[in-house]
């Protein structure tokens, strides 16, 4: 465990787990967020983990639609309402075919936020081992403090197919 200051970094938060006892949010660096969309053209792709909600059209390419609440085991099964936002996230991973950075579309029922609370900017860093209910292996880490947990998803591994290794 180490103290980490986030105050020098600009970031966005995506609140998760409306029904979870603790307050969880995904954290995205400013340079990761490409665009926020409200409507997409997408279809479900069979044989994928439940958190991969399908493939969506973005310009000339298809992006995987990722639901962080499903991925982290924070979704309420009774609440299957429509998503409010689709956030296009840029990863550092490069598509071997096109040579461009791989993108993901993150589905959110709550909406991206700019952190307002100064307490959010001085948190402790944890390795993701057992801090979330599911898929901790697909996280970079967790920042924790003041009763909240800010989760950094490892989009580089995810977009190179790490979630599908069991299906490969």
């Amino acid at each position: 465990m180490q103290k980490t200051s986030l105050s020098e970094h600009r970031f966005f938060l995506l609140p998760l787990g409306r029904y979870a006892k603790e307050s969880y949010s995904c954290i995205f660096g400013q340079s990761q967020v490409v665009e926020v969309m409200q409507e997409i053209i997408a279809c479900e792709v069979p044989f994928c983990p439940r958190f991969m909600r399908g493939a969506a059209v973005y310009g000339e390419q298809l992006l995987p639609v990722i639901c962080p609440e499903e991925m982290l085991g924070l979704a309420d099964p009774a609440e299957q309402g429509p998503y409010r936002q689709f956030i296009v996230i840029r990863s550092a991973a490069v598509d071997p075919a096109s040579g461009t950075n791989l993108l993901a579309m993150v589905a959110s029922s709550r909406g991206l936020q700019i952190p307002q609370n100064e307490e959010d900017k001085n948190l402790e860093y944890f390795s993701p081992s057992d801090q979330v209910p599911a898929n901790g292996g697909l996280l970079n880490g967790i920042y924790s403090g003041q009763g909240r947990r800010l989760i950094s998803i490892d989009f580089d591994r995810l977009l190179l197919g790490a979630a599908m290794e069991a299906v490969a």
């Binding site: 069979p46 044989f47 994928c48």
Partner: protein
């Protein structure tokens, strides 16, 4: 140009190349004859041939209640054998440019894009293309992540 036959599974559009499709008919059509052996349903074909029937909604984890009697039977050719698939509803026929499809990105791994190699966009519709010739290998190896059941146990003889 490429001609695609479309069909629906749980309100979602799927498609496959027309040259792979041998026949499409209502499951309840009077000329459709089936038999059940060991809990598995087979379509009876001419010259004593049989073709196992796969329910694609069940196989893909897209099941919707109450559509059993309305289903359509789609028969496709794979080498010397015929594969029969139950689908929710017929779609239509679409002519598209050869290069119109877009491949699934690397996030979907290697196996899934073998069965669903491309997606087409037609207006507001997204059509996931299905490659039935690759389904057998997938059935043997993989687990349905939505149901947690092994497709090998459920489907393969």
């Amino acid at each position: 140009m490429r001609t695609i036959v479309t069909f629906k599974l749980a309100e979602q559009l799927f498609g496959l190349d027309r040259e792979k499709v041998v026949a499409m008919a209502s499951r309840n059509h009077r000329k459709i004859k089936t038999t059940v052996k060991g809990g598995v349903e087979y379509l009876l074909l001419s010259r004593g041939r049989v073709s196992r029937i796969f329910d694609l909604e069940q196989l893909f984890g897209l099941e919707q209640p109450g559509t059993g009697d309305m289903k359509q039977l789609l028969v496709v050719e794979h080498g010397q054998e015929l594969l029969s698939f139950l689908v929710s509803a017929r779609g239509g026929i679409a002519s598209v440019r050869e290069e119109a499809g877009t491949a699934l990105p690397p996030a979907f791994g290697r196996a899934v894009p073998m069965v669903f190699p491309e997606m087409l966009v037609n207006g507001q519709d997204a059509i996931l293309l299905f490659a039935p010739e690759n389904i057998h290998r997938f059935l043997v190896k993989h687990t349905n992540h939505r149901t947690g059941r092994s497709n090998a146990e459920d489907i393969v003889e």
